[in-house]
Every structure is written in C-alpha cells, then in structure tokens.
C-alpha cells in the first residue's frame, strides 16, 4: 500500500525530510546530517527514520545539490566538445566580458580544456542552409580521439544549429555509435536557441554534469530499491517543477538550482494557502541573502543565470537575486569612513566573533546578539553550547563604535540598519524595478536568521507584512512534496511578424505541448490537472532584447492576435509602444505543467496550543530604536491558533528565531504561520 509522499532536501549541513501521509493528511519531519560524499545514503537513512516500510512510499521527491556542488567546486567529469571548424574557442572566449568592472583582475578556466575541444568540417548558415555537410566518419574519428584522451562525456555543438540541426543531429548519432556510455549531449537537444556561447555553455555544463549526476541517480535508485521502495523518484528542477530520473539523467543541467527552487515552491504553497498570493521570499544564510518574487501565486522565472563567471546556464529557472549580506557578513568602515556591512564574510567557520573560533571582526550575527535578539545560551544549529556576548560587544565597540563615536548598542543597531538597507535594496530590485508595488507583498523569511530581519524589511520597503512559516528550517523539503511536474521548451524563430504564418506557428506550439505532455505521462505520476503555457519572445525590428508575450491558443492563431499581445506586453514593460516599427518573433516558448494534488496546510496548525501569556519563557533586554526594552521571549511552537503577540518580542523555536519589532503585531494563523503586520 503506498501512502507516503516524501520530500527530501539535501543541504550543506543537514538533510531535511518531510513526509506527508496521503491517507490521513498528517505530516512528519526529520533532520539528519548530510552525507556529502554520497547524498543518497543520508537520504535513505533519514527517510528510514520516519517511514519504516519503504514499500509504503508512493513518491520520493528530491531537491539535490549534487549538480550545484559539482559546478561550484569544479568537480564534474572530464568532457570534450566536438564543434564546427574555426570555433573551438567559443566556450573560452565567452561574450568578451570580464569578472569585475573595475580592476582587470581575475581569469577564466573553462570546464573543458582547449585540447579536448576538437573541430570537424561542417557549416550551417543563419538561414538554415547547409553550406558544408558533415562527414560522420570524421566525427567518429574525433570522438575516438577524445575517448583516447580520457573524456567520459562529450558535447556536440555546431554553429547555427538552432536554425537547422541536421548536421548536428547526424554528428550526434555518429558519436553515439562509438561512445561507450550515454553521456553524449547535442547542444540543440538541450537548447535550440540563437546565441552560440549561451547554448554551448549550457550544453557543455550538461555534459560535464552528466556522469556525476547519472551515477548519483543510479546509486539513489539502487539504494532505495534495496530497501523495498517501488514508487516514483522525482527530481526538483531549477524552474521549480519536478522531472523524472530519466529526464534528470539526460538533462542534469536542469538541476543546477534544484535546492533553492524547492524552497521557493514551498513558499508559494504555504503563502497561497494562507491567503498571500504575493510574497517575496527572503533566505538569509551565512554569506548571502537570496530573494525571489511570487506574484499572483506564480514564481518569477529568469531565462538564464551564471553559476560563476563565464559559467552560463540558459534554461528557465526560479529567479533568485543574491546579495552578499548574511549572518557572517563583516561590518567595517571604508577608507572614507562610511559604514559597510559585507560582502566580505566570516562565513560559518570561523564565523561571527561570538562563535569564539578565531574571527575578531564584528558581523551581523554579533550585532543581533549584542542587541538581545538572539539567545546566547541556546544557539541555533546545535554546534555550539553558548555564544560569547562580551567578545561580540568588544569587537563592535572597537571596529565600529569608537570610530563613529557611538555606544556599542548604537553601533550594533547601525550595523543592522545598514544590513537591512542592503536587503531592502535586493527586495526593491525584484519588486519595484519589475513594476510591482511592494505594498501588496509580504516577506516570507526562511532559514534560521531571516525572521530576525523580516520586521525591519516590512518597514524599510513598505511591505504589507511578513509571513513566517511554522518550520522555516525545513521549507525546501516541504517544497519538494508540493512541486508540480514541469517541462519547458524554447525554439528560435527569428523572423519578422509580417513574414510569419501565424496559424502554422500556433499549430507547431501545440504539437510541442503535446510532446511535452507525453513526457509528463511517461513519469507515471498522478496529476490533478495539466496546464499549458504558450509564450513568444518578441521585439521591434532592430532591438536586441525581447519582451515575453503570453499567448492564449484557443483556435487558430492570427498575426493580429500576436501583434495585440505584443503591444500590451510592451506597454506593461516600458509604458509606451512604438509606432510604425515592424515587429519580430525571436523565440517560441512552451511549458507544460502537471499540477500535483495539493494537501491541506492546516495540518501545520498546533493542535494543543496555549494562550500567549502561558508561552512566555522569560523576559530579556532587547535594544531597538535607540533604547532598551524588556521584551518577552515566547516559545513560538506552543502558541495556539489565533493568539496575538505585540512587539517588541522575541519568539524562539529550535530551528529559527523571530524578532518582532516595536510597532508590529504577530498572530498565529490557521496554518501555524506567524503573520506579522503593523499593530
């Protein structure tokens, strides 16, 4: 009998497990140390803590950092590239950029070495004409040479393959004839989109990841099968949807942001249930602050991202804006005497001064501690027994207080304000700069520290409020369980609208959607419903940046309908349309989403909560707004539904601390969330 849906998020320190009993609607969570040499071991062990019989598991949905880590640590496989004669260096030449605007420092080492980038005679022109046919025997010879040189994976990439992939397909088939494993990537199979560097980089990173991710998937499959698991194993993709193991092995580049995407997906589900369709997620880590936007219940997607300088992945991903401001961010005065917090960070080792592991420069966490917002005797994470308040205070006094002539408390509050201002800037970046009014949005903090700053961000950005989920530490695992299955495909058109047969274009897009639906069906997962998204990337002739134009495909598509849809999308983006300039269609984009059954978030509501007054553990002196306050410290998880707490107050739970600023009130909603609003 298969009753459980299990979400598993493997992070750097802990593997979080979230189990939903689909029969009773009950949930259970577990946390176990990550096994970074082989994530699959911790995954199976952690799941075993909650579910005794693996045969009862219907699906395991997994957010993985295997691919992400292999990219960041450059631990992918030795790969080769077979390309058009004259173009072996496209990967290394990038788009002629540099890592930093100022300073001219920094170098770039591509993941495929120059000696493993080989050429064959072939050429397709921009209009799709084959200028020089490819010779499969030459391709095979080059493939054998790469094998002899020790390459495990290979990418076939031909110039203008987006316009006509005949040569590339023939070459890929030739390579597959001689290649001893499945690790052959054809660039246009991954991304049939114009722009050679972006396409090649995406396809190369796919080849680079394929052996690592495939082997991991196999170990995972075997390990789970040996414990009796016979359900579906699904992998979270960077676009927030899930895919089958088969797809993940063929297109591992789609797992690059698997972990964070699951977190955003969880936020989306929690917030929608709570009646907050518009939220901004805020994940405060040790060195960075990540924000992403969910508007009208949908997460914003970015068309491409850079994992590192020159490591571009072009595929739809949850859009995450990152700034260098985390708990370990160091506060300092610059040469002009101005207070700066980050991007330099003490990370988690040595970490903040209060950890006592050797850092003596004050950090954001030290400031929170000195101001009484963090409990010095109950540090989160369980690694340390206590935090050293005196050392944190001394460091703040020495590095910030004395030079600015401020008391240690005022200096600590100044560090907080500067850090909050930077976080607010990141929130403005994803909201105001994209035309969204922050007053409609609530902040949703994740992680242990995000909820310390949520109140300040509500004030600084004029947000509607903040929504603190019941378990900010395990949201990503929850996200796995609620993630939908999603497949995206892009195809370059690059023709003026006037020359396009709109009806045929619409029919092609529908055919693509049917193909993607078949891929969904192959995974064998039950869906509540299946949705299709049709979009065009369009622009005025002469422009190079496109706007996304959503299309409704009901009945035959017409040029007029496309032109109208473009006009409204362009006006929404730039506040004006341009007269008399021809329009062009650059790409078609089709997405198919299999909506997985929702579950009732009210299972998070505390069943036997207590009145607020009965949840006060102690009172603590907390500094806010230039004065000390006697603030109650609540046991957050003990608060009953409907209870309200007013700031200043601290709410503690094992995986997070919430600080409620003066002037704010927080109430426990029917789903166990804490809803913070102006009092």
């Amino acid at each position: 009998m298969s009753r459980y849906a299990v979400g598993v998020d493997v992070g750097g320190t802990f593997t979080d497990i979230f189990v939903l009993d689909q029969q009773t609607g009950q949930v259970a969570t577990a946390k176990t140390p990550s096994t970074l040499d082989d994530q699959s071991r911790g995954l199976a062990e952690g799941t075993g803590q909650v579910v005794a019989d693996f045969a009862e598991i219907a699906a395991i949905i997994h957010g993985t950092t295997t691919g992400t880590n292999a990219l960041l640590e450059r631990k992918g496989a030795q790969a080769g590239i077979i390309t058009t004669k004259g173009f072996r260096d496209v990967l290394e030449m990038r788009r002629r950029d540099r890592p930093h605007t100022w300073g001219l420092r920094g170098d770039f080492t591509p993941v495929v070495e120059r000696i493993h980038r080989v050429e064959v005679a072939e050429r397709t022109l921009a209009d799709g004409t084959i200028h020089t046919p490819v010779d499969p025997e030459e391709v095979k010879a080059q493939a054998r040479a790469l094998l002899a040189a020790g390459c495990q994976a290979v990418c076939v990439f031909f110039i203008n393959g987006y316009a006509n992939d005949a040569n590339e397909r023939e070459a890929a088939a030739a390579v597959r004839d001689v290649w001893p494993n499945a690790y052959v990537t054809a660039a246009t199979e991954i991304l049939p989109e114009i722009r050679e560097f972006e396409r090649l980089s995406t396809a190369t990173l796919n080849a680079y990841l394929q052996p690592v991710v495939s082997k991991y998937m196999d170990r995972l499959d075997d390990g789970l099968a040996s414990r009796g698991f016979r359900g579906d194993l699904l992998i979270v993709q960077s676009n927030g949807g899930v895919m089958s193991v088969e797809t993940a092995k063929a297109q591992p580049v789609r797992t690059a942001l698997s972990g964070p995407a699951a977190g955003v997906r969880a936020a989306q589900a929690i917030a929608s249930a709570a009646g907050f369709p518009d939220i901004i997620t805020c994940d405060l880590g040790g060195t960075s602050f990540d924000v992403s936007l969910i508007a009208g219940g949908e997460a914003a997607l970015a068309a491409q991202t850079s994992v590192d300088f020159g490591m571009v992945i072009r595929s739809p991903m949850i859009e995450i804006a990152t700034i260098g401001a985390g708990g370990g961010s160091i506060a300092r005065l610059d040469a002009g005497g101005l207070l700066q917090v980050g991007p330099e960070s003490a990370g988690s080792n040595p970490g903040p001064v209060c950890y006592g592991l050797g850092n003596d420069r004050p950090t954001l966490t030290d400031a929170n501690l000195v101001l009484g917002r963090i409990n010095a005797s109950r540090p989160i994470g369980g690694k340390l027994d206590a935090l050293d308040v005196a050392a944190a205070r001394a460091a703040i006094a020495a590095h910030v207080g004395q030079p600015l002539n401020l008391s240690p408390e005022d200096a600590a509050e100044a560090i907080l304000r500067v850090a909050n201002a930077r976080m607010a800037g990141a929130i403005r970046l994803v909201s105001i700069e994209r035309g969204h009014d922050p007053a409609r949005f609530a902040a949703m903090p994740f992680g242990g520290g995000g909820a310390l700053h949520a109140g300040a961000l509500v004030h600084d950005c004029g947000l509607r409020g903040a929504l603190v989920p019941r378990f900010p530490g395990v949201t990503s695992a929850l996200g796995c369980v609620v993630a939908d299955m999603r497949h995206d495909r892009v195809q370059t058109v690059n023709r003026p609208l006037a020359e396009i047969d709109a009806q045929a274009l619409g029919a092609e897009m529908e055919a693509t959607a049917a193909e993607l639906e078949a891929l969904l069906a192959r995974a064998g997962v039950p869906f509540e419903r299946v949705e299709r998204l049709y979009e065009l990337d369009m622009l005025y002739l002469g422009q190079t940046h496109t706007v996304t134009v959503p299309l409704a495909l009901a009945g035959p598509l017409t040029r007029e309908a496309i032109a109208d849809a473009f006009a409204s999308a362009y006006r929404a983006a730039y506040g004006r349309v341009l007269e008399k300039i021809p329009q062009k269609v650059m790409n078609t984009r089709v997405a198919v989403i299999g909506r997985r059954p929702a579950f009732d978030m009210s299972v998070f509501a505390p069943a036997d909560g207590r009145a607020a007054a009965d949840c006060i553990r102690e009172t603590r002196r907390v500094y806010a707004g230039g004065a000390w306050h006697e603030a109650p410290v609540y046991d957050r998880l003990a608060l009953a539904v409907g209870e309200t707490v007013t700031g200043p107050a601290v709410l503690e739970q094992p995986d997070a601390t919430v600080f409620l600023d003066p002037g704010l009130a927080a109430r426990v909603d029917a789903f166990g969330n804490l809803v913070m609003e102006r009092a």
Binding site: G86, F87, D89, V90, E92, M93, R94, R95, R96, D97, R98, P99, H100, T101, W102, G103, L104, R105, G106, D107, E113, R114, I115, L125, A126, H131, I159, N160, Y162, A163, I194, R195, E196, F197, E198, A335, G336, G337, L338, L339, L404, A414, R417, V418, A421, G425, R428, L429, E433, Y540, L541, G542, Q543, T544, H545, Y574, G575, R576, L578, I581
Partner: protein, 551 residues
C-alpha cells in the same frame, strides 16, 4: 592636515542614513541604466552597454552618483556635459530636457547623444538627471561614424549643440525630425531616443519617492558628505603610494592621415595626498581623428585610477586630490573642429601610460597593458532587394598579467563593460559568415604572469559587394608588459587586394576598401602584456601553455 569643510555636513548627518542613501542613489542610477539597455534599439547600447546614467549637482554639474553598469568612461565625462547645459540653460524650467552631442563640450565623440534633465522637487531645482548613449549612426562620411580619415568634425557626423528636446514639458518633434534626417538609421535613432527619455522619466519618479521619504535637506547633505568621503578615500589611496615622480610613454600608430607615431607621455608625481598627472610632453594636436577634448582626458584619468584603486566611488570627489595637466596645443585638449571620432584609441593609450607609471611606484597594484584598441570594423552595403545594411562592431583582446595571475583572454576594453554580439546574431542580421572565431595563440606577452590572449576573427561576405572601414590601433606598437614582463603581439588586419591578403598602409585604419562576394577579411587582435620577469614563470605553467596551444 586640515579638515575639509564638507566633513561638517557629515557630522550633522547620521552615518547610517548616509550609508543607506548612498545605496539608494546608486540604485536609481542603476535602474536608469537597466531601462535603457532593455529598451534600446541598437546593439551598441543594448548589448555593449555603451551608455550611462547618473545624478548631477544642480550648480556645478559634478557627478553625485552614477550607474554601475554603464560605460566606465562616462563616469568622468558626464559632469562636463551637465555643466555645459547649466552654462546655457539660464533659468531651467520643470519639464525641460536638453539634448546634444557636441564632444568639445561634453567629451568623447559625436556618436554619444546626451540628454540632460533638470530635476525639480517642490518647485525648486534639486539636481540634474542625465542619460548618454552611443547612437548607431549620426551622419558623416562613414556609416557608424568611425571615419579614420576625418580631418574636421564635419566629416564625422552631425554636431548638435545643447538644445531643448522638451521645453517645460512640451515635446519638440521638430528637433527629432532634424536628427532623423541626418542619420542613415533613423528608426534606430528614434528607438534609442525614446529609451533614453524613458530612463530619465523613471529616474525622476524614483527621485520623487526618495525625497518624499527622506526630505530634500537630508538628501542634499548626503550628496555633500558622499563627495567629501570620496575625496578622503582617494587621498588615503594616494598617501599609500611612495612620494616621487615617475614617467611613462607610449605611442599611437598614426592619426590615419599622416603615418607618424603620436606620443602619449605622462609624468606622474605623488606628493603626500596629492597626485599630479602631467601629460604636457604628449604630441601636438594631429590632423586625424585621434585627438580628444580635455574633458575626455580627465575622464580617462578617472577610469585608469579606478582600475588601480578599486574602492573609490563614482563621484566627483575622487578627482579633488588629483591634478590633470595638459598642454592646450596637444592632442589631449583640442577644440572644435579638430576631429575626435577615434577618442577610444587615445584614452586606451592614456590608461596604458597610467598603468605603466603606477607599476613603477607600486608594482603589485598595476596591470600590464591590455590589448588597447577597440577595432571598430564596419562592413556596409546594399542587399539585392535594395535594403541598406551596416554591420558595425567592436572586437576583443587580451588583458594584461598582474600580481595575482595571468591576464584574462578575450576580455573587453578597460573603458567599457561591453559584451560582443553573438556571431549567430550577426550572421542572422547581416550577409556575412564568420569562418573563424578563435583565440590567437602566442599573442599574450610573456612574463611571470602571462598576458591574456587576443582573438582571431575571419569574416566572409555573402552579398555582391561591401564597403570596408576599420578604426584600430596597436598595429605598430604592441601592448607593453610591466615589471619586466614581455610585450604582447601587435594588432594585425588583412584584407584582399589584387588576390592577396594585405595589411592597410596605416596598418589598422582603413577607409572605403571594397570586398566582393566570397572574399574575407581577417582581424588578429593583440593579447595583454606580461607581468614580471619571464624567467620566474613556473615550469608547469609553461608546460600547460604548450599543451593547450596557448603559445
């Protein structure tokens, strides 16, 4: 040392508000940049980011804050453009927007159109907002306006003095008609102009929100304090250098008219917390278009110093402790109508000599010279169906080695953050086919840390005929190494003449040669100079260079 009076403002303004406002000002400028990049029509703005936006002082025009993603050279030069408008504006009115491209007033060259808008708050002038962008074609003798044989600015393009595009909110369509009538690509011009207006509108909206939140007095005090802080950062950087005078010189190949080298010479003096950059020994003004206005010289010094001292902000205060000395008769301080279209080449050389001089005082802080030429290549013609086409692009090269490591291969020029358009986009838009797009082995200067590699681009024509123009440099004088590092390979351009591939007489400048269907041109760009004694290059680095074919 005496305290500058501005620090009084700083004492009045709490340091935290100041830090917050600094971020907000920069965000407004960044957002103006982003708006134009997305809306622009021509790839020089949209892809190459040859544009810039900022906030400027209401009285002096000095830079208060500038976007981080715009073209670095504009950070220094825009203050001159705004000052030029202030000098002419008389009593500015709310809703005015000025437009001009006069390079003798606003620096750089005719291709850069500047829009300057007085920003009013509660009925009073508060500051200026400005936008500058490189338009695709502004008339003149050569499509794309890099005319290597211009001897007067009249041959480079139209020159528009500061005039009102909006008069108290009223749009002057007649001005736009004059501009459009003087361009080969009026549609692109119109689209870019609309994008720039949109960026200024957005900047004004964001300023409204900021001033409503913080008040005009606080923001004005923050502007003053940030300027003082920038000056102080620069002073502390200068103090860290040893006192003394060092000299460096480098050469431009020629001016495109007379085939004789032109000297760019620098005598740099550090004295306590002051820095003097004296370019007096440079060549006199020349006949061809590698002259620059003094405003451009000052801006280029800012770019060079910001590469060496990365922490200094984009703010007028940075240049307070710096004296830039030029001889009015030299090619670094010309006035109308001396041609200035090739200003990029001259300022790149100017940055090279600053790097070479800094290397003598503080070897670990400087880079060896980067490739040092933008190679503006223009292929233009008419298609079989009568449509006119102009493919105009800049090409990349290597960066210099430095104390941390080898130079970057195929980077962008130090004056820009431009990316190169994808060759697939170029092939889709123009009747050309690239037959090679590759690194150029052996082009980086040898050294303990090798220079990055330049590139090879070979292009074949797919239409009947095209006209060919090139504006480049470093064909005779290769990018130099520093601290004992070797020079990079020089620039090399080949085109077919009588069945043979030859270099132009001026090496990297060519005007109006013809290319026929199936013929090719080949551009081989310089790498970067080497850093430090080649004998100190580790054996394994040399082995790797050989194995990978980098040398």
């Amino acid at each position: 040392m005496t305290r500058p009076p501005e620090t009084l403002d700083r004492a009045e303004l709490d340091p935290v508000t100041l830090a917050i406002l600094k971020g907000r000002f920069e965000q407004i400028a960044d957002e103006m940049d982003a708006t134009l990049f997305r809306a622009a029509f021509n790839p020089i703005i949209a892809e190459a980011h040859d544009a810039s936006h900022g906030l400027y002082d209401a009285v002096t025009g000095e830079t208060l804050a500038q976007g981080k993603s715009g073209l670095p050279i504009f950070v220094g030069v825009m203050a001159f453009a705004v000052k030029a408008v202030i000098d002419r504006a008389g009593e500015p009115k709310d809703g005015d927007v000025w437009i001009f491209n006069d390079p003798y007033l606003g620096g750089t060259h005719l291709s850069d159109f500047r829009l300057v808008k007085p920003y009013f708050w509660e009925g009073k002038l508060f500051c200026y907002l400005a936008s500058v962008g490189h338009w695709h074609d502004v008339g003149g003798n050569v499509p794309g306006n890099y005319n290597p044989v211009a001897t007067e600015s009249f041959q480079e393009g139209m020159l528009i003095p500061p005039v009102k595009l909006y008069d108290a909110g009223e749009y002057r369509g007649d001005i736009v008609e004059i501009l459009s009538a003087n361009s080969r690509l009026p549609g692109s011009l119109y689209g870019d102009l609309q994008g720039q207006i949109g960026a200024l509108d957005l900047g004004a909206q964001r300023m409204d929100a900021l001033l409503a939140e913080y008040g005009a007095e606080t923001c004005a005090a923050a502007f003053r304090a940030l300027k003082a802080s920038a000056a102080e950062i620069m002073r502390s950087e200068i103090r860290a250098l040893p006192d003394g005078t060092v000299s460096a010189e480098d050469f431009l190949d020629n001016d495109g008219i007379v085939d004789a080298p032109l000297r760019i010479a620098l005598d740099m003096t550090v004295e306590g917390d002051r820095l003097v950059l004296d370019f007096s020994r440079s060549s006199p003004a020349c006949a061809g278009p590698v002259n620059i206005a003094r405003s451009t010289t000052v801006a280029a010094c800012y770019v060079a110093l910001k590469h060496v001292f990365g922490d200094v902000p984009a703010n007028a205060g940075v240049l307070e402790p710096v004296d830039v000395v030029t001889d009015p008769a030299s090619l670094l301080a010309v006035e109308a109508p001396k041609p200035v279209g090739g200003y990029t080449e001259t300022i790149l050389r100017l940055i090279d000599v600053v790097f070479q001089a800094v290397a003598q005082l503080a070897p670990e802080r400087a880079n060896a010279c980067a490739y040092g030429t933008i190679n503006a290549l223009s292929l233009a013609g008419t298609r079989a169906d009568g449509r006119r086409w102009v493919m105009f692009s800049f090409f990349g090269g290597g960066h210099g080695g430095h104390s941390d490591g080898d130079g970057l291969s195929h980077g962008n020029a130090p004056i820009s953050t431009a990316t190169i358009p994808p060759l697939e986009i170029l092939e889709a838009a123009y009747p050309v086919r690239f037959t090679e797009w590759a690194l150029r082995p052996g082009s980086g200067g040898d050294g303990a840390h090798r220079g990055g590699l330049g590139a090879v681009y070979e292009i074949e024509l797919l239409e009947e005929q095209a006209d060919l123009f090139l504006f480049g440099e470093r064909g005779r004088f290769p990018p130099k190494g520093i601290n004992g590092g070797g020079d990079a390979a020089r620039n090399r351009f080949l085109h077919p003449v009588g069945g043979e591939m030859v270099e132009p007489p001026m090496t990297s400048k060519l005007h109006g040669a013809k290319l026929k269907r199936g013929e090719r041109v080949r551009l081989e760009t310089p790498g970067g100079g080497g850093y430090g004694d080649p004998a100190r290059r580790p054996a394994e680095a040399r082995k790797r260079d050989e194995e990978q074919g980098y040398v």
